[in-house]
Amino acid sequence: MSACGDSGCGTCGTAAPGGAGWERRGFRITSFDSVVALAGNPNTGKSTVFNHLTGLHQHTGNWPGKTISRADGAFEFHGTRYRLVDLPGTYSLLSASPDEEVARDFILFGRPDVTVVVVDATALERNLNLALQIFQITRRAVIALNLMDEAAAHGVRVDDRGLARDLGVPVVPMAARKGEGIDALVATIDAVRRGDIVCNPKAFHFPVPGLEESVASLARDLAGLYPGLPQARWVALRLLQGDGRIREALRSGDFELLAGPVGPNQPSPEPAA
């Protein structure tokens, strides 16, 4: 196991090599070994990726907001059965609109083993903003750098390896509409799940005086209350921002579910801040 540092790119690679060995399982989602979430901005091709992986036919269309609630499907790779959850597209996880809450609650409480962030290569800046927010909630993330064909048509070249190094998570270049990169994405998801690729997403520091200390102290208390809570720092930050949903979850004890023992399929807890 090696962490994806500045020099670690040889081992983690931008993406695992692709190959056959995966099988679409459509609606067979009742029994599964692992859960994968598909997140991303609206209109980046999440539903297209979802359809490719599961063989289902979620309606796709070139307009933001097609997927309103989440959709479930399944696929299999080398004997591991995956349940794939297509989340509604969101620009951020910071506000409390219903679609953002669906996405955020699933990544937080659904405890996906791997979260795939579908990123539009033609609008990298706006898309990475969401990716950075997702990295605060989960460490097991894969970037599906979609619409590479369109970026090329616009005269834009994205350095996927450089991006993987900077972000600390694997990046799979794709053109999902043509089916390019799907094999590599499946292999990468599996490698992250097995721990062959260890994600070390970019740590984010807050340039607000006093915030870093407050977050750290609150996160310590949270970790004391719920040992193994994987997103203690993020929860602390949201509490400091007065997030009603998170306060409610704390009061009602939803976090106890999250703080269970860390199994092999669960994200490792964040290092104490």
Binding site: S92, S97, H154, G155, D160, L218, A236, F255
Partner: protein, 473 residues
């Protein structure tokens, strides 16, 4: 010492007061800054791109103040015209086979098998014929219309429609995103109602839900197209009939938009008062549609889905139609009594009792209106038996439909009023139930059902009145 969740909340509150007030903004800014830095470090742009230039040019036309509106009319009219002129021939061919050739064979087989006459009547003249009508009437227009619509959607045109209509929605006090839910309603009103979840403000969401039914749905496009083709297109010489029919359907669809705006305006000035909220709408880049995938998904997802739904509802409706036409009460069939009772009301609205009864029987699905009307007309007007007779009534010009309907007392006025009533009547039962689920209130579901009915009654009665005055004078 044991920590409690409430301690953490208290501590969070205490720490919160020490933070600067704009902490949310500063965090958001920092995130954007980092994202921008990461993006620029890993992206290289090579010169101006041809594609970006033509997309800008295209947007200037398609979202321009006046050009946008003109382009919208032109694009949708073209789609309708292609559908209408393309669906004629295959529609007649399928009807010839399913309604003309097969029923006599089925009857002969049933006789040979020694089936009870009432059972073979129920199954063949009821269930089978209703299903056959649905397929022959609906399949060809859908198989042309849906792929075209999906190509537009894939290309990225729908958000532009929303953009063009946004200002108008703001003016009537509704949410700009209602343009998107209205566009969704053009496919299916139940889907459009669910899509209203994208509107955050409960007031504006309710307006969008209540008015969604004024978007012509999948189930009603074929009705509009068919009636316009058969009754209105034929008023002019062949070369222009397709154009005129398309223009009429377009006119009804636009009237639907006008009704959406008008009813939104009334609602936001009366029971649902309030300010319109602002939002940002992203115009996605134009993307070349992948034709093969489009064909596949629109055929499987939409055409077959809608057709299957129609067939599922047509079969039991066919049985009901056969029963009301063949179960007798005081020497006359139930259908006779119902139609006789409905006739006066129908006359005021420029319709026929048969049409109103069809709308009652066909509440589960708008898709089966025309087949229901046809079957009721045939049974009620006492046309020669559907078995052998039906084959005779079909000539390859596709005018059989007209022959049957004229025997049922139809005129051009009936056709016009039916098109209007098809636009403005109660939603199908699926949509009504969806509205109940989405609003959690039978009161609003009732309003959503009654409002378009009232509008339809006023609309049809006024047209019929003016028409009759002009005809008399």
């Amino acid at each position: 010492m044991k920590i409690h969740p409430s301690d953490i909340l208290d501590q969070a509150d205490a720490l919160r007061w020490k933070l600067p007030q704009n902490v949310d903004d500063r965090i958001a800014e920092a995130l954007y800054g980092t994202a921008a830095d990461l993006a620029s470090r890993n992206t290289t742009k090579s010169g101006g791109s041809f594609r970006a230039t033509w997309q800008r040019q295209l947007d200037r036309i398609l979202t321009g103040r006046f050009t946008g509106l003109l382009a919208m009319l032109a694009i949708f009219s073209t789609v309708l015209w292609i559908t209408i002129s393309g669906a004629n021939v295959p529609s007649a061919m399928i009807a010839d086979l399913l309604v003309g050739t097969i029923p006599p064979l089925l009857h002969r087989a049933a006789e040979a098998a020694g089936l009870f006459p009432w059972l073979s009547g129920l199954l063949i003249d009821g269930v089978y014929l209703a299903t056959a009508w649905v397929i022959s009437v609906m399949l060809p227009p859908m198989a042309i219309f849906f792929p075209l619509f999906t190509i537009l959607e894939d290309f990225g045109y729908l958000p532009r429609v929303a953009f063009n209509l946004d200002r108008a929605f703001q003016k009537v006090g509704a949410h700009g995103k209602q343009a998107l839910t209205m566009s969704m309603g053009l496919g299916c009103n139940a889907a459009g109602v669910i899509a209203c979840r994208i509107i955050d403000s409960p007031r504006e969401r309710l307006i969008a839900i209540l008015t969604n039914n004024f978007s012509l749905c999948n189930g009603r496009w074929p009705t509009q197209i068919l009636i316009a083709t058969v009754f209105i297109g034929t008023l002019v010489p062949g070369a222009f009939s397709g154009v005129l029919a398309a223009a009429c359907v377009m006119g009804v669809a636009c009237l639907g938009f006008a009704l959406t705006f008008a009813s939104s305006w009334v609602l936001s000035r009366t029971v649902l008062r309030g300010e319109a909220s602002t939002f940002s709408l992203e115009l996605p880049p134009y993307r070349p549609p992948s034709i093969l995938r489009t064909l596949y998904t629109s055929l499987i997802d939409r055409t077959l889905f809608v057709l299957w739904r129609a067939v599922i509802f047509a079969a039991p409706a066919g049985a009901v139609i056969w029963l009301v036409s063949n179960v007798h009460f005081a020497d006359q069939s139930l259908a006779y009594w119902a139609i006789t009772a409905l006739n006066p009301l129908a006359w005021v609205m420029g319709l026929t009792g048969v049409i109103l009864l069809a709308y009652i029987i066909a509440i589960p699905a708008n898709e089966i209106i025309i087949p229901t009307v046809l079957m009721l007309t045939v049974q009620y007007a006492g046309l020669s038996g559907m078995g052998d007779g039906a084959g005779v009534m079909f000539d390859t010009d596709g005018h059989a439909l007209r022959t049957i309907l004229e025997a049922g007392g139809w005129s051009v006025l009936t056709a016009v009023c039916l098109m209007l009533f098809s636009l403005a009547h109660n939603p199908c039962s699926t949509t009504i139930y969806t509205i109940y689920k989405e609003t959690g209130s039978w009161k609003w579901a009732t309003v959503a059902t009654a409002m378009p009915l009232a509008v339809g009654f006023v609309l049809c009665s006024s047209v019929a009145l003016v028409w009759r005055i002009l005809a008399a004078g």
